[in-house]
């Protein structure tokens, strides 16, 4: 029952807190936007992953079960 990291790329504004709190899985590109080294979260990093999800100022990062790929857990957003 692994969980995977999912990101709303439109909401993401490159704050970078996720990379600070989960550097094992998340890096930053030249402009401060996240690059995932892996999306599957191993058990020993789950707590850190939850903290990273909680820390995102714009709620762009979330954890999801892989099977729930099509469940609409976020409303579709365009940048306003």
């Amino acid at each position: 029952m692994g969980e995977t990291l999912r990101i709303d790329r439109i909401r993401c504004d490159g704050h970078g807190l996720c990379a600070e709190l989960l550097p094992e899985l998340i890096g930053l590109d030249d402009w401060g936007y996240p690059i995932f080294k892996a999306v599957a979260v191993p058990a020993h990093l789950m707590e850190h992953a939850r903290r990273a999800v909680d820390a995102c100022p714009v709620l762009a990062l979330r954890l999801a079960r892989p099977a729930s790929e099509t469940a609409p857990t976020t409303r579709v957003t365009a940048k306003t």
């Binding site: 790329r9 439109i10 402009w31 401060g32 936007y33 690059i35 099509t70 957003t77 365009a78």
Partner: protein, 405 residues
């Protein structure tokens, strides 16, 4: 000529019926089965199997689905969709009606680019010829001009809210689209081909094609040929066939752009006999895409041509996602400097690095397409890019060293 007309005017309903017969009455599941058996792939660029797409919408529909006939055609090098709509609007309408029956839709939207005046006029005229129950279910929505306004989530977003920028997926339109309903977003050429397959059967469609390929379709030929324009081809035709049908090449050609700005460059020599059809091309790392075939004259610098395309693609970003907005902007700037032979010391190295960093990191596939094109350019024009980093250009011969008088 099944898809495009030879004459300048839109085909009227009477001529259309006379040529092709009435709309088949087969039920939804039979329609979907025919399309699946035909192996028809979508013509908007992604090449997704049409039958499977109709089935996935039908499965989620309880009668209130929506059909969005996508005629936005934002790809600058592509003319086929507007030509098809302008010349054979009734075939497109037939396809949309069949799709509506197959997925259980009561709302049909023809999403036409604002700038495609003839296409929009032809569709309007054609809808006016149809009976009231068709006119009551169908409407034309004009898409803002732009590269990504035809992306499926952007189309849905525009219809719902007047904002033609892509939205976050999942959910994709086939799950939740216009007004939250399952929505079939299908390219107009795919719909027209579906209308032909419904009449003549999947076996007919599969009997077309050269060599191992099956089917037919539209391509847009441009660049160093005598007669650029839309061609109707059997899939599996080669570049040689296409060039001949376009009146032959004008001068030497080194590279060819296939699939559109989200396709890629290929060496003309190597691909001269290659069958133009999705499966073979994908196996070679190329894309059939929306059927663009652009011959680049040998005297045109590949770095310069790529720079112009990257600048355009960067300008067409919806500017919603950092990697696309900043990444494509930086790529376009570095490429422009390289083209002008005034690069910074690590411009080429950064281009290579950035081209590996953007795919999959945008809200839609725009950055993926752009870096796909860039990577093909870095392969096909590798020597040219290296030369430009050293402030030289291999295409325009250097002026001969003149002895000082």
């Amino acid at each position: 000529m099944e898809l495009i007309t030879l004459g300048p005017d839109a085909e009227g309903l009477a001529t259309h019926r006379q040529r092709l017969g009435p709309l088949p009455g087969m039920p939804a599941d039979q329609l979907i089965a025919e399309l699946e058996a035909s192996g028809l792939l979508g013509r908007g660029g992604a090449g997704f199997p049409v039958g499977r797409k109709w089935r996935s919408v039908a499965e989620r529909s309880s009668g209130g689905a929506v059909v969005l006939a996508n005629g936005a055609e934002g790809e600058p090098l592509s003319l086929k969709d507007r030509s098809l709509m302008a010349g054979r609007p009734h075939l497109v309408i037939d396809g949309a009606l069949l799709a509506a029956r197959a997925v259980g839709a009561d709302d049909i939207i023809f999403y036409v680019g604002t700038e495609h005046r003839a296409a929009e006029a032809a569709l309007r005229g054609a809808l006016a010829e149809r009976p009231a129950d068709v006119r009551g279910r169908a409407r034309i929505v004009q898409a803002p001009a732009g590269y990504v306004t035809g992306e499926e989530s952007a189309a849905v977003h525009f219809v719902d809210s007047g904002d033609a920028r892509p939205t976050t997926t999942p959910p994709r339109p086939f799950e939740r689209g216009v007004r939250g309903r399952p929505t079939l977003v299908q390219n107009v050429e795919s719909l027209a081909l579906a209308a032909l397959i419904a009449r003549r059967g999947h076996a007919w469609y599969r009997s077309l094609g050269r060599g191992q390929a099956h089917g037919m379709g539209l391509i847009t030929v441009s660049g160093a040929v005598s007669h650029a324009g839309v061609q109707e081809i059997e899939l599996g035709s080669s570049l040689a066939d296409v060039a001949a049908a376009a009146g032959g090449l004008r001068g030497d050609v080194e590279a060819v752009l296939l699939g559109g700005y989200f396709g890629g460059w290929a060496l003309a020599d190597e691909q001269w006999r290659m069958p133009l059809e999705p499966h073979t091309m994908r196996a070679q790392g190329l894309a059939f895409g929306c059927g663009v075939v652009h011959f680049l004259a040998a005297r045109t610098c590949g770095v310069e041509a790529t720079a112009r395309i990257m600048a355009y693609l960067a300008s067409q970003s919806a500017r919603q996602c950092g990697p696309c907005l900043f990444g494509l902007g930086a790529i376009a700037a570095a490429n422009r400097r390289l083209a002008g032979k005034t690069p910074q010391a690590d411009d080429l190295e950064r281009l290579i690095r950035w081209s590996g960093q953007l795919a999959g990191r945008g809200g839609c596939r725009h950055p993926d397409g752009a870096v796909g094109l860039l990577q093909s350019a870095l392969t096909v024009f590798a020597d040219d890019f290296a030369a430009h980093q050293r402030r030289r250009c291999l295409t325009i011969a250097e002026p001969a060293r003149v002895a000082v008088a």
